[in-house]
């Protein structure tokens, strides 16, 4: 593997420290929720993952447009890595959500707009990953992926509004509750957690790009060797 740059190593350490601090904030600083108890701690990971997933998909959208405009491979790599990270974080949201939901409302799943939209989002970006996996190599693959990355992102708000009209069931409104509910210390913990997850996102992004570049390098070395042997 190619050596990470100095900034990357630094980013790794910053991410480590911020994440440790976020864990402290979550488990020690933030008070225990009266009704839900320790299950409520999942909230900090759930919300932060959801934020990360949406952010990652937004980056896919921007990188896809940038790729189509100037055909620079760099953008394609960013879109690819970001989509993969986004799928992982969406999976975390979809796993933590039901665990929390079961404790909070006694049901694993409700067909509520945000849950359902997240599920569809997950399917859209799994499809994106599949488009990449089954495409023919090279520039064409990057173009197809970029096109689908744009279509998928445009679809998300329409999905959300359609599902919201379709049936509005309750999702715990934790942050918007007017005065009710959220302790300021919980809010601090949540903000730290979101920052920590964002750091993790950027760290994973740089690592992913590094892996992609290593792969490209290995491929070019292989080709050179093959040519020499011929």
């Amino acid at each position: 593997m190619l050596k990470p740059s100095k900034t990357q190593t630094l980013l790794g350490w910053v991410t480590f420290i911020v994440t440790m601090f976020a864990l402290y904030m979550t488990f020690i600083y933030a008070p225990m929720e009266k009704v839900m108890g320790v299950v409520q701690k999942i909230f900090y990971f759930h919300v932060a993952s959801a934020w990360n997933a949406f952010f990652a998909f937004f980056i896919v959208f921007v990188a896809s447009i940038a790729y189509l405009l100037n055909k620079n491979e760099k953008w394609d790599t960013i879109a690819k890595v970001s989509a993969e990270i986004g799928v992982v974080f969406t999976t975390i949201v979809l796993v933590t959500g039901p665990i929390w939901g079961h404790a909070a409302w006694g049901r694993w799943w409700t067909w509520e707009p945000r849950l359902t939209t997240t599920l569809i989002l997950w399917f859209i970006y799994l499809a994106y990953v599949l488009v990449r996996a089954s495409s023919i190599e090279g520039e064409k693959k990057a173009t197809m992926a970029a096109v689908f990355g744009i279509i998928g992102f445009i679809d998300v708000p329409i999905v959300f509004f359609a599902i919201r009209w379709w049936g509005s069931l309750a999702h715990p409104e934790v942050v918007t509750g007017s005065g009710g509910g959220l302790d300021p210390r919980m809010l601090h913990a949540l903000i730290t957690s979101v920052i920590a997850f964002t750091c993790i996102y950027f760290y994973l992004l740089t690592q992913g790009i590094l892996i992609e570049r290593t792969e490209a390098r290995v491929k070019s070395i292989k080709n050179q060797l093959r040519e020499r042997n011929n």
Binding site: L68, I120, F123, I124, L126, A127, L130, V131, S134, S135, I136, K140, T143, M144, A146, V147, F148, I150, I151, G152, I154, D155, I158, V159, F161, A162, I163, W165, W166
Partner: protein
Amino acid sequence: MRFLAKIGNIVWKDLVAEFRTKEMISAMMIFSVLVIVMFAFAFKPVGDTIKAVSPGIIWVAFTFSGILGLNRSFVNEKQNETLTGLMLTPVDRTAIYFGKVITNFIIMAVTEAISLPLFFIMFDYGLAGSILHLILIIFLGTLGFVSIGTFLAALSANTRASEILLPIILFPILVPLMIGAVQSTAMIFDQKAFAEFAGWVKLLAVYDIIFLVVPFILFDYVLEV
């Protein structure tokens, strides 16, 4: 005007090719009736069940059979390398897109026009609501389906496993359209006034516009070599 004539030529070519073999349209027709029959076994079609499940059955039958047609619309062109020929013709790439959209729309409309009455007969279900409203919803739903479906069919034709890939990439994108179409169809069956499902009609119309304009912008990239 010349642009429209070019589109018309592509539609004409596709329809002639299709109606000489009737390969796609017969398969779609049989399949959509088959889906309806399968649903009859899945939900025993008596009494209130029909009313509850029929809008869903109709749209699932339409989309599943539509996928069959979409899959062929570009894969067929690839097999004989006729897509290259089509791309070499001195027309804008978007003319190819709109041509394919219109062809797919016509083929789907024919399928629907035959399978929908069959559905009403087989389930012994009398349409209570307005037929014009139903036609409007089917028009908007089908248009949205073929506009994004044709585009993604062109995209997936570039991949190795295009026929497996197309439903997987198309269905998540179709979610808003399916919700809107099924909801408004259910309301028509319930004899609701137009004003009550006007919101859904607007959603369908907006979906159609968005997914005609975005592919229009991006289609050049999908067909480039």
